[in-house]
């Protein structure tokens, strides 16, 4: 199971999720961005109408289940 900074990818799909897990504001942003980069690298991230480099949002979805 892939984790970023101790959080499962699917649990860090928004900055608010990371904040809810107890991370501070800067770290939540950083964890979320790291998740986005990893998902994008794996081709699992559909960014929809958000521009390249945007953070994952609730509207973003993953095309395959995490293995």
């Amino acid at each position: 199971m892939r984790t970023i900074n101790g959080m499962r990818i699917e649990d860090a799909l928004s900055v608010d999720d990371a904040r809810g897990a107890g991370f501070g504001p800067r770290t939540s942003q950083l964890v979320n961005e790291a998740c986005a980069r990893w998902l994008e690298k794996k081709g699992l991230l559909h960014r929809g109408h958000t521009h390249f480099g945007a953070r994952i949002t609730k509207s973003t979805h993953i095309t395959e289940p995490e293995k």
């Binding site: 892939r2 984790t3 897990a21 504001p25 950083l30 964890v31």
Partner: protein, 188 residues
Amino acid sequence: MKTRLIVIDTETGGLDPRRHALLTIAAFDSQTGDSWEARIKPAPGLEIDQDALAVNGLDVADLARSGREERDAMMDLWCWARLRKDGILAGCSPEFDAGFLKAACDRAKVSWPFTHRTLDLRAAAWCAYEAGILPLPLSKAGRPRFDLDAILGALGLSRAADKHDATEDAELTLAAFEGITHLLGGNK
């Protein structure tokens, strides 16, 4: 995180705070997310080693042209830090950065604005490694690595570029502290 950490990182012109120049400083407040950073004009009479520039990739000519005067930067940092004097000074080997900041405070004739309590990310990583929850990579000699890159890698984080950047490294160090805390089940 229940306690306030003031996470610092510096880039310098070498390893000796009395001989080498302080070039960049970054500090983060873990509770508010506020940051402070400065690029410093190298102080006169101090040295800058090429080996150090190979690590941080800084352009000395650009710092000399557009960096802040060291005294001005230290006075500004003093004001920022005094508002957060309850925070614990933290970093990856923070005694190294504190040594350079203390030397710069002395040159600028400003008092030390931080607490004297420090917290080293390597110690936190050691605890997590020994507890079996942070699988650190091994050195060629077969010993666990406790450098920032190794700790970040074990947490699924990384630098954006190869060169060391004080702001990015301080931000990542703070994230690593929070990540290890999360692994230990103590973020709430």
